[in-house]
């Protein structure tokens, strides 16, 4: 990379770093909220996969759309969401992005183009493809990214919508976050053949990329987003990554399906934040002090948002039958 390019991109790099750290901070707090029994229900941690969401979302505009998954906090932060509204949502508070009605598995932030997390594995593949259909039909140059896991590649819906996206050249990028597991099962036990090969069979260009390398992810995402805007979509990305926590926050004893060594190896040798931080310092883009300061600020912001959310109020009982239908104030009145 030329020094000139490096300088002009410094701001972008720092934003990427910042967003990765924000995701990690968000998840650490969410996990604590669960462990201290302050959060209703369960949630799925994105820690370890930050370079995927950030590398991709930093290649997108606010008007571009994403669809997310049950493991959706990372996508939500990366696409521009605020801590306060996110924690409020996780705690079921009125100021949450969905007024507390959706919770972690349905968090959405339409102001930043996040069409929502989804508790049906693979459930958003049609939605993402439809969002791309809208862009094409209305002549907008928006791109849509569909995030999903390796496990979701087993859902037939994926092949149905890839076929249509390919036939109609829709501006959609299917982003498969291959973290090696679906729940408690290794990917090779549930996926025959080749994941990228499946997209290619539909005539879709497919790429495998190191999901722990935010620059590699971002580079590819930028190219593909631009090509989508020019009508060359759809595309498929398989991002090799890893989740540090259990399948959900309650999945503590994991040794029956994966070893502690494996977890340690990913955390110590392939952590996306540590790697990128090292690179930033090495390249002279930021000093250790600057980075530490940024980390500290984010930590404080997260803690403040948690505090706010814990104090915030629940929606009023009268909300229970609101928003069943739009244009109808109370469905049961």
């Amino acid at each position: 990379m030329s020094p000139a390019k490096k300088q002009s991109n410094a701001e972008d790099y720092m934003r990427m770093y910042r967003q990765m750290v924000r995701i990690r901070a968000f998840e650490d707090n969410a996990n604590q909220l669960y462990l201290s029994a302050k959060m209703p229900g369960l949630t799925h941690m994105y820690s370890g996969e930050e370079a995927v969401a950030v590398g991709i979302c930093e290649a997108l505009r606010t008007t571009d759309k994403i669809t997310s998954t049950h493991r959706g906090h990372g996508h939500c932060v990366a696409k521009g969401a605020e801590f306060k509204e996110m924690f409020c949502e996780l705690l079921g508070k009125e100021e949450g992005y969905c007024r507390g009605k959706g919770g972690s598995m349905h968090i959405a932030d339409q102001s930043n183009g996040n069409l929502g997390a989804n508790a049906i594995v693979g459930g958003s593949m049609g939605i993402a493809t439809g969002s791309a259909f809208t862009a094409k039909m209305l002549g907008k140059d928006d791109v849509t990214v569909c995030f999903f896991g390796d496990g979701a590649t087993a859902q037939g819906l994926m092949y149905e919508v890839m076929n249509m996206a390919a036939l109609w050249n829709l501006p959609v990028i299917y982003a498969c976050e291959n973290n090696g597991y679906s729940e408690y099962t290794r990917t090779d036990e549930i996926a025959a053949g080749s994941i990228t090969g499946r997209a290619e069979a539909f005539g879709i260009e497919a790429f495998q990329v190191d999901g722990q390398d935010v620059l590699a992810v971002n580079d590819l995402a930028q190219k593909l987003a631009e090509r989508c805007r020019k009508g060359e979509g759809p595309f498929f990305m398989e991002l090799m990554t890893y989740r540090y926590h259990g399948h959900h926050v309650g999945d503590i004893n994991r040794e029956y399906y994966r070893s502690k060594e494996e977890e340690r190896d990913w955390k110590e040798n392939r952590d996306p934040i540590i790697r990128f931080r090292g690179w930033l310092v090495e390249q002279g883009i930021a000093s250790e002090d600057e980075i530490e300061a940024m980390n500290a600020t984010i930590k404080d912001e997260a803690a403040a948002a948690v505090e706010y959310a814990l104090q915030a109020k629940y929606p009023d009982a009268s909300e229970v039958d609101m928003h069943v239908f739009t244009d109808v104030k109370h469905a049961l009145a």
């Binding site: 969905c98 959405a108 339409q110 809208t134 039909m137 249509m164 239908f325």
Partner: protein, 331 residues
Amino acid sequence: MREITLSQAVNEALAEEMRRDETVFIIGEDVAEAGTPFKVLSGLVEEFGTGRVVDTPIAEPGFMGLAVGAAMTGTRPVVDLMFGDFIYLVMDQLCNQAAKTHYMSGGKLNVPLVLRTNLGATRRSAAQHSQSLHALVAHIPGLKVALPSSAYEAKGLMKTAIRDNNPVVIFEDKLMYNDKAPVPEEEFLIPFGEANIKREGSDITLIGTSSMVQVCEAAADILEKEGISAEVIDPRTIVPLDEEALLKSAKKTSRVIVVDEGHQSYGITGEIAGRINEKAFYHLDAPVLRMGAMDVPVPFTPALEDLTVPTPETVAENARRLMSGEMIHAA
């Protein structure tokens, strides 16, 4: 007034709304050049092009899901599901996604889509092409459900459905596509949740949906000759349901039969009867009777298929039972 077929009525409704709002599009199998196997959409692709009358691969879950995403981002899809029996294939996208998105997002995301499909047996199409599955979707909060009973309703309800900002499912009776009815040339809409009193009467109320409205009218003709005055009501939409109109009639006549072409058990007649029983109980001279399709898969052979659905004769027969007080002894 001019008369047109139900098929033409649907076609007109779609064409008018597509002219009025360029975000409306149709998506489904063989909707374009073929105009669907029932030819309901003939001519639309010529006017609106393949960009807005979109032929899909045979992938019902896929195009249903696509429509949900399209609707969430600024268009108004009309999804064409060739047979109502295929609704099982789209249930996840319809009920887990379309129906819940507005609520789950706290009111921030809308899914203004229409799923048009059909119902009705006695076409000799056997068990997988003859079902009337509107009860399944009526049970799911977040979906509106319309059941047009003639060309007039088919047009007016379709136009309302397309303008509605919520997901709406419309079931047309596939045996009625060629039935004609008077339909005004001028634009009109039929609001959801307003039942239509097809025929006034004083002795008994016959509530019919979709093609069962005709069946109830024919039963009323039979009964009239016998001196029994039957009121025939068509709810037109079952979600929202015009409970008030149904209760008013029930209180007036004191006797009610609910007739529907879905399977009787755990279908819509139970709900309608249940509400009337509950809210007009002390006005009723007899229990509300329910008549749905027989609780059997639809048989292919005409010798059996015709036995499975309510007919004017069986409705009239039940009306006589209710009038005679025979029920009292049966109970």
